[in-house]
Amino acid sequence: MFKILKQKSTLPGFHLSLGYTVFYLSLIVLIPLSTLFLRTSTMGWGDFWSAVTSPRTLASYRLSFLASFIAGLVNLVFGFLIAWVLARYSFPGKKIVDALVDFPFALPTAVAGITLASLYSQNGWVGKYLYAWGIPSAYNFLGITLALIFIGLPFVVRTVEPVLQDLDAELEDAAASLGANRWQTFAKVIFPNALPALITGFTLAFARAIGEYGSVIFIAGNMPGKTEIAPLLIITKLEQYDYSGAAAIAVVMLIVSFALLAFTNFLQWVFSKRIGMS
């Protein structure tokens, strides 16, 4: 440690840059975030518990987590397919398609929200067919899930694509030369290598989806206990000046988000070890 410090100490600005980093981080992120925990700590356990376990809160958690989970699964399948096609095949217009995959990242969530609501509502381009088949696709669980599918897609594609690109061609050739058919090569060589990236992509999409607000509320319906997502419930509590109630719901969501973040970091750590060994 000391040796490295000395070795690198010829460059100036260490104290200034680190000092400023810690100062700005504390000012913008750490102090504001800590108020959330401070606020809930003044509530007392009973109040906190009743705020986060009221039927309305539990219903919103259930909705947010379930819709996010299903959207994540859909993106897992189709994200993998798209990543595979982009990483392995060439076709005309591929560069444009590749850039468009990031469109849900780049499009502001409010725009996504009104667009999806218009697309999937009863008179919308897609909605009119779905409604005609007896599938109401807006202002209900399906609508929420569709919006979460939209915003989650790039996470899976962008985590899996580089892994598929970097996968050693020799491994696949070896499997083929040992008599594996294409399906066996996929199941025994390609898929296990892509699995950590798939889980990471799914977790990132899931984590983003449970906190998502703008792209969902326009298509959600927002009925308390039925189609009210957890982030919307926070806003409702704020509008009723129930700051503590809002903070309590937020703390639970934040803890889940941080646990998911820790999980992806852990996965990456495991994954990098495995690469390091091979």
Binding site: M1, T10, L11, G13, F14, S17, L18, Y20, T21, I28, V29, I31, P32, T35, L36, F78, L81, V85, Y89, F91, V97, A99, L100, D102, F103, A106, L107, P108, T109, V111, A112, G113, I114, T115, L116, S118, L119, G124, W125, F150, A169, E172, A176, S177, R182, A207, I210, G211, E212, Y213, G214, P231, I234, L238, Y243, A247, S257, L260, L261, N265
Partner: protein, 281 residues
Amino acid sequence: MTRGENPLIRRLLIAAALAYLALFIFLPLLTVFMNAFSKGIVVYLKALNDPVGLAAVRLTVITALIAVPLNLIFGIAASWAIAKFNFPGKNLLITLIDLPLSVSPVISGLIFILLFGAQGIFGPWFIQHGIRIIFAVPAIILATIFVTFPMVARELIPVMKAQGSEEEEAAMTLGASGFQTFWRVTLPNIKWGLLYGVILSNARAMGEFGAVSVVSGHIRGQTNTLPLHIEILYNEYNFTAAFAAASLLAMLALVTLVLKSIVEFKYRAELKAAVRTDGSL
């Protein structure tokens, strides 16, 4: 060729992927513009030429012009400290910097209400002194800074790490000052990564909705950013105007994607060039 699928399966997979993207990405993109122009270009232009809408555009631009440079300065400082020096707690610092990305937009707004709201920790003091933060422009800017906080830093850290310190050390040995070294040696080496981070932060800063919605108070012509303005128009069933305003942000998204693709190419080259000369990473 032992690898690869037979052409039929290959074509089927490409077709399936493209169909999915057409349904979930291209169709929404088309919807924005079709709805915006559904009553003709005259109505479209009239909808855009509205003083309240223009005020929203102005506030959006001002917010980005403050938030992005502040996070840029932070990003440079953080990546310099993290990439060029070793110190205990570095990994923790990197994790903490990334934290805002995993916080829900609504919570990102909520924390500033808990700080500066009427019932908040510092709120009463500011209200006594006649300084409005919540339901005013300062909170909008603060919330935007929070949600875009790590976006420059997380692009710069890998580039600076990959570059190593040898070039800077050489410059210092040859008598350059710290500032000269940064300006003439470091900055040219990281410029594409820096631009990449700025483009991404700007898109997010101009498009942020959830966090800003919580702290803005939705005062027309005063505390409405463009995304909030879109929400109000939409909720008033003024769909053409809502989509006209939305088309501006959709165009911003498309420009962002084009710039991003161009810069990404240079940025990857920058990372690779660094790996070649340094050997680390």
